[in-house]
């Protein structure tokens, strides 16, 4: 039993030790992953149906809020002045430079996820009496972010423009979000 450790034996032992640790680590990781991943959105949450909205009744200057994936989506039928102010804006001073054309499919309707990109509050500006901020679009009351007619961040702590969800026009006045 008291055989001396030859270098060869030592190599064998090192190999066995390293491979045991490695296999153990892989095994532990493959067990931990389900424990972590179970917290990600479940299949039924991911399968949440897309939302269809009829814009027929939405008059110029009016806004509606619809719910999509548990979040509010803002749809606004913009006035001519709002469209031109959004189009004419130079990109120089913008924090998250995007042209209005990149943000709309039809100039008349702007569709936005109504969640402030700062810390997730719902900005004001959908109702006629709401505070709309210094740029006339939306204003987040939580920490004071101002958005313009294109939903672009203009002032305040939010880092990016209001998100534009994936949507498509099924007809001239019917859109499908999601």
């Amino acid at each position: 039993m008291t055989k001396k450790n030859t270098p060869e034996d030592q190599n064998k032992r090192d190999f066995l030790q390293v491979s045991t640790y490695a296999l153990g680590a892989v095994g532990a990781a493959s067990f931990v992953w389900p424990l972590i991943d179970q917290m990600n959105p479940a299949a039924d949450t991911l399968a949440l149906a897309s939302t269809e909205v009829d814009l027929e009744a939405l008059e110029e200057g009016q806004s509606i809020t619809v719910k999509w994936r548990g979040k509010p989506v803002f749809i606004r039928h913009r006035t001519k002045e709002e469209i031109s102010s959004a189009k004419d804006q130079l990109l120089d001073g913008l924090r998250d430079p995007q042209t209005d054309d990149e943000r709309v499919q039809n100039d008349k309707y702007i569709v936005l996820v109504g969640v402030c990109t700062h810390l997730g509050c719902v900005p004001l500006g959908q109702k006629s009496g709401d505070v709309k901020g210094e740029y006339g679009g939306w204003f987040c009351p939580c920490h004071g972010s101002h958005y313009d007619h294109s939903g672009r961040i203009r002032k305040g702590p939010a880092p990016t423009n209001l998100e534009v969800p994936k949507y498509s026009f099924l007809s001239d006045t019917l859109i499908k979000i999601g």
Partner: protein, 417 residues
């Protein structure tokens, strides 16, 4: 086996096999404690008792609570109206959270004032900061459970903090939510974690106590115990002192529970959560306000989050930032001054955190935030270079000016006997 320690033979029989009575006798009865502790040393035991109170009321509340977005708010209202003594249990739990933070914040500032974080108590201090972090996480998730407007939007804002992390931020937030907004999966996991974290806190508290009993309590003059003459047994001296403090504390606590139970809460949380409407003015619970003020003071999202967490992280390394070897403020005239400025600064941050983030409040928040970090990162390391500390007493039992004081001479003579 040595001669039996305890009179009761059953106790002796058990103790021989499981030395629990020896342990209790050692740590709770004869445990030598500095004889000069003042009432600020009550707050550790008060925090422990509050933790137990929270766990007991929490367990019985969970027996009547439903963690589902459609039922949570109503189940809390049912606890308030229909469950026997439910209103009392909930008000104790709800106010208990606030009182827990009051007690712990006093406990922390006690440690700051008397230098309790210095060698050899660094790990004791770090464990304490860890308990504070765990308490904050637990309190935050508990506040979400009633599923009122503040619950929902508080959860939304706080979980969104993680979206500031570059690259993986959005995925982490989705992972935390279990969906695309704060919703039923979020409520369920918060309930689960809110239930289990207090027991984790109990575990860390036990480590905190083990570390404490290694060298014993610090004391108001901050010098080491030199011998038996400097200490008294924990029982009956400090058991009685702690009990007296506890009776004062429970009187105030009971006054809050029975006469102004909603004083420290927010009325908007009695409105059921509505994911489509954010309340005009979101504020966290009062005990988070200083940190919230720091978050909003920084005009950059990631920066704000980093500074907010940094405000706690700086406490972890405090034992190495404060380079003075003198513990107690009693002998550090300059540190004492800066300590009180820090207290005012923290209260100011708390006040500013409750105010809307506009105009003068933003500027003041930035000044107060800058000062907070200035205190820990600049003042504390540099202070020992310019501060001349007062001479330390020889021991706890020997006052500095022995000759001129009759009373102390008498004390010294008594000790010789």
């Amino acid at each position: 086996m040595s001669k039996p320690k305890f009179k009761n033979p059953v106790v002796n029989w058990i103790d021989y096999r499981l030395p629990i009575f020896t342990f209790m006798n050692h740590e709770l009865n004869e445990y030598p404690t500095p004889k000069n502790l003042n009432y600020f040393w009550n707050f550790g035991s008060l925090a422990g008792i509050t933790l137990v109170t929270m766990i007991i009321t929490g367990i019985v509340l969970s027996m009547n609570y439903t963690a589902h977005v459609d039922y949570a708010f109503d189940s809390v209202e049912r606890i308030m109206r229909d469950v026997n003594h439910g209103w009392l249990l909930r008000y104790i739990h709800m106010n208990g959270a606030s009182f827990f933070f009051i007690v712990v914040y006093i406990h922390i500032f006690r440690g700051l004032y008397y230098g309790s974080y210095k060698a050899p108590r660094e790990i004791l201090w770090i464990l304490g900061v860890l308990i504070l972090l765990l308490m904050m996480a637990t309190a935050f998730m508990g506040y979400v459970l009633p599923w009122g407007q503040m619950s929902f939007w508080g959860a939304t804002v706080i979980t969104n903090l993680f979206s500031a992390i570059p690259l993986v931020g959005e995925s982490i937030v989705t992972w935390l939510w279990g969906g695309f907004s704060v919703d039923n999966p979020t409520l369920n996991r918060f309930f689960s974690l809110h239930f289990v974290l207090p027991f984790v806190i109990v575990g860390v508290v036990i480590l905190h106590l083990v570390a404490l009993h290694r060298f014993g309590s610090n004391n108001p003059i901050g010098i080491d115990v030199k011998g038996k003459q400097d200490t008294v047994p924990f029982h009956p001296y400090y058991t009685i002192k702690d009990l007296f403090g506890l009776s004062v504390f429970t009187t105030i606590f009971a006054a809050a529970v029975f006469f102004f139970p909603n004083f420290m809460g927010h009325p908007d949380n009695y409105i059921p959560a509505d994911p489509m409407v954010t309340p005009a003015h979101i504020v966290p619970e009062w005990y988070f306000l200083p940190f919230y003020a720091i978050l909003r003071a920084i005009p950059d999202k990631l920066g704000g989050v980093l500074f907010m967490f940094g405000a706690i992280m700086v406490l972890f390394v405090l034992p190495w930032l404060d380079k003075s070897s003198v513990r107690s403020s009693q002998f550090r005239p300059l540190y004492k001054l800066f300590f009180w400025i820090l207290v005012i600064d923290c209260i100011a941050l708390g006040y500013l955190g409750a105010k809307p983030a506009e105009g003068i409040y933003v500027i003041l928040s930035r000044i107060a935030t800058a000062y907070y970090f200035f205190h820990f990162l600049i003042i504390l390391p540099l202070l020992p270079r310019i501060e001349s500390t007062r001479p330390l007493p020889v021991s706890i039992s020997t006052p500095i000016i022995t000759a001129s004081s009759n009373a102390s001479t008498v004390m010294a003579m008594r000790e010789k006997k």
